[in-house]
Symmetry: C2
Subunit: 223 residues, 2 copies
Amino acid sequence: MPANRNAARKPRRPYHHGNLRRALLDEALATIRADGVDALTLRSIGERLGVSRTALYRHFADKAALLTAVATEGFRALHERLVAAWEEGGRGDAAFSAMGVAYVHFAVANPSHYRVMFGGFVEREPRDPELTVEAEGAFKALVGALAALQRAGVMRSGDDTLLMARHVWALVHGIAMLAVDGQLREPGAVETLMRYAFERLRSGIATDARSQPAPGDNSLSPA
Amino acid sequence: MPANRNAARKPRRPYHHGNLRRALLDEALATIRADGVDALTLRSIGERLGVSRTALYRHFADKAALLTAVATEGFRALHERLVAAWEEGGRGDAAFSAMGVAYVHFAVANPSHYRVMFGGFVEREPRDPELTVEAEGAFKALVGALAALQRAGVMRSGDDTLLMARHVWALVHGIAMLAVDGQLREPGAVETLMRYAFERLRSGIATDARSQPAPGDNSLSPA
DNA sequence: CCATCAATGTTAACGTCGTCAACATAAGGG
DNA sequence: CCCTTATGTTGACGACGTTAACATTGATGG
């Protein structure tokens, strides 16, 4: 690739700008991290990169496309953290909890970024294919871990893995969202809730739990 | 109240406008419902009410204040639905599930409104007092129901009620968020997940569940 | 080696938005 | 009846996203 050789060797404006798309993404993410999504302005980001305010349009269709790319990056990073937690945790019981902790930690450490990923900034109807791939990839990490735990006999093996995964995802996502929204402000609240939720989750989902309807229970279906 | 007498008797512009604040709120909510938050424009809403574009500033500090009021309305409505589900469901086991269903149903039926309530549109630092009151009121409905179920012996009575409530809230909020975000698109997916989640939640939270650490479990604390 | 072309970046401008200041009008109390 | 206050309007400003027209650079092929 002769085009990249120059770019790789001399970082000082080899091509028109080098790799502007990458720079735009990084700068956008930095701005979002520092000052929130509302502070993200095409003009300011261009100015900060020493480039015209419309240069962005050669690399992204519009501002929404930039945000979609930021969200995609987020899912990629999240996926990475989840896999790392699973692998480094020993792919067992503890690793599963570690995944949950890693998930919430990612959200709490990058609240604005997390909001871009889930806050309705991306279009819903024709979902961006790359974003879909990355988001599903992250989700698949959870499904895979759950399937492994099912095979190991530590999680209910009869249940639909995807349904179980959605359950866990919803729980963790809910905690993350509440935390990001500032609903769990007291110090240690997030950790306490995480610990409790995973304890309850486990005794509800693990093989050793009594899954038969409780005596006298006949009314749990949605009204 | 002589001022209101005219307003009540003749709907055609009794005062300057009648009750503009109320009309602004309703129109804003209608717009959000119909076309989403992004479509909400101070100019358009004023035009739609046959009023100047800046008339709003006599009733709200700025656009954010309007959105905060919309969010407050949302929590009030949600609170109402939750209480209704609890009361009409018989304040028991089934009623608790009905509350969960009502919660998710509210979010799915009013996705944009729900997003205003939780999407980070309201300021975090000096939280609006009225909003806080309404949001906490809705949450208290959940806490109250859980406490009643604890007293009735159907829910783990040893656990901190607030912690339990946060757990349930996070779960339901997570499902609602995923649904609103379009992550549960297949028909019936939300209902299926809700049913499963509440079954698992119950067998994890109910008195009859084995709450002791599972045999061989020694590693559930966050890594 | 150079002409051509596509890729990339710039400039100027437009329409819309939230917001403010100055002004207008109506309601109600002294 | 006048004066104060609440309410609504007009005009304007700066910032924003976006587009069209233009400029420049890198690569490609004869």
